[in-house]
Amino acid sequence: MVEEAEYTIKLPAFEGPFDLLFHLVKKAEVDIWQISIADITEQYLAYLQSMKELNLEIASEFLVMAATLLRLKSKLLLPRSPKFQEQDEEEELFEINTAEELFQRLEEYRAFKKAAHYLRQMEEDQKKVFLRTTGGQKVMVFTRQESVYTIWEGAHHLSDIMQRFAKIAAQREYVPAFSAVEDFVIARKAEYIQSVLEKKKRPLPMKDFVTDSNIWELIITFIALLEMSRQKKVKLLQDKPFGPILVLAGENPPEEGESGEGTAEKSD
């Protein structure tokens, strides 16, 4: 952590410009509300200078803060004209126009840094408590309806749902609603398409290869055809979008050993 590293390493790493400013305030042993903008600006710039000398990459945020500090300092130095109300263009990350705003932001950052410090302590405490992990084998599910419900409950990401599903699917008694993968393996479909094409020896519409009326059959057929097309085993023709797809046997079905069974199984 920063506080400890300070004594061993010349330049501690800071999480951001506020972190660095906060560190400088602490080092000066003054309250946030009593910082001298001139002093802090000087120290801040000195720090950036030493980073530069060490060839450390200075993140753009640090430079934006440097500019902000310099502007605050110059404002304090120049006599204020009461008539002139400055309308500053908004800065990308911080819109800080007065010293008070800077202090306010530093104070807010300090509070969250302290909260983060608490979280670290809680993390350490909690690390000492070991919980049972069985690799997702025992998810407590009381009824089937509930198991389905809990998949969706409070899920905000597709990944949430997928992870929960995986957990439930890992249970032995889980029975899937359909077994698409079992029934329509793409490779097997490809073999089938190949054999039909060899037998008929003429182009066929895609629908001729769809042997069942369910959506999975259609999907598997389509994927199989795409895969075969990639392997140059078939050619696909379609004269307009959403029009019927015509399947032609490939000119030179390459024997790359990609699916040996596909050609081995000749139909008689």
């Binding site: 602490k26 840094k113 302290k114 410090h117 350490e124 070991f130 407590m140």
Partner: protein, 188 residues
Amino acid sequence: MEKEQQKRAIEALLFLSEEPVKLDKLAAILSTTAEEAGRRIRELQEEHLSQGRGLQIFEAAGGYQMGTHPELASFLEEAFSEEVSSNLTNAALEVLAIIAYKQPVTRIEIESIRGVRSEHVLDNLLKRKLIKVSGRKEGPGRPLLYGTTPDFLKYFGLKDLGDLPELEVEEVEKEEEEAGEPENGTAQ
């Protein structure tokens, strides 16, 4: 079900469960009231404590969970060393703290407090499931809003968000404060 039996059943259920179990769920399994189940849990907790057992029951993320006693950490770390996950980075903790106290909060709001871009940190926290996208903010660009998850509570051993220590922000009152005011909490 007899009280002793209820107690044993709760102990067994919590022993097997990886996740905190809500009180009403426990009550439903035991066909009893949440009040009764709560009483059994407290009895169990006392027994574990008074007998100096290796396991303890505690509240986490709105439910009850069984875990090892913190005093045994050194033995367990040795035995299960490969399973100990790495601590969060300082940056991650900062972002988490901001989200925990200000949720729902946008990335820009987080970055403005930290003064640093935090996209990468947010991604990592999402991956660790300590935060989630909790919606979108109405307004230009409808930015994503982030909030903490039950896993966040579990990770830090919190019952609920109210269990977080209070955020100590000193309000401005600059004009009234005297210069002699001691530096409050500036030293961590």
